[in-house]
């Protein structure tokens, strides 16, 4: 890929910011969907039980920590791959 010049960088940066917004919203809604699927299974009432609430909290926190760890390993593997390509 050709390098981008300063003006192109700037335009690309705007695009990246837009995408980060979308990515964040996607992460958020995936999280809701996953934790709802795993934690909410009682439809005899329209209020969350305290057990469901606890499950949702743990599910969300754990997912974010999981996502962070995957991110760290992902960057390491990416760097490793780049080094191997350069050789």
């Amino acid at each position: 890929m050709d390098a981008l010049n300063a003006k192109e960088q700037q335009e690309f940066q705007k695009l990246v910011e837009q995408k980060q917004m979308k990515d964040f919203m996607r992460l958020y809604s995936d999280l809701v969907s996953k934790c709802f699927t795993d934690c909410v299974n009682d439809f005899t009432s329209n209020k969350l039980t305290s057990k469901e609430e606890g499950c949702i909290n743990k599910c969300a926190e754990k997912f974010l920590k999981h996502s962070e760890r995957v991110g760290q390993r992902f960057q390491e593997q990416n760097q490793l791959m780049m080094q191997q390509l350069r050789r």
């Binding site: 919203m25 958020y28 809604s29 709802f36 439809f43 949702i56 909290n57 969300a60």
Partner: protein, 92 residues
């Protein structure tokens, strides 16, 4: 989102406003689509003996939507708690 847009030409600013409105629309639509999908899985049987929702299914759908909104709020709280010290992996 667009730093250049702040106080910039009215044209750029319009674009930014429309993009924000679009993002909001996408979020609401996305949430609705997810809700349709997930409450179908939770509440609607796959034997298809009838084309109407029966009473149990209807009640289940109503509660499913209500509980999904509550779950949405709870997840938001958790994300604020954890998310601010930077837990979003690749984009930085």
């Amino acid at each position: 989102m667009s730093f250049l847009g702040l106080g910039g030409s009215p044209n750029v600013s319009s674009q930014a406003k429309i993009q924000a409105a679009e993002a909001e629309l996408d979020m609401v639509t996305g949430m609705f689509n997810q809700l349709v999908d997930i409450c179908h899985k939770k509440c609607i049987g796959t034997s298809y003996n009838a084309s109407d929702l029966d009473k149990n299914e209807s009640l289940c759908v109503d509660r499913c939507v209500a509980k999904y909104f509550d779950t949405n709020l709870k997840v938001g709280d958790s994300m604020q708690k954890v998310g601010q010290n930077g837990a979003f992996g690749v984009n930085r």
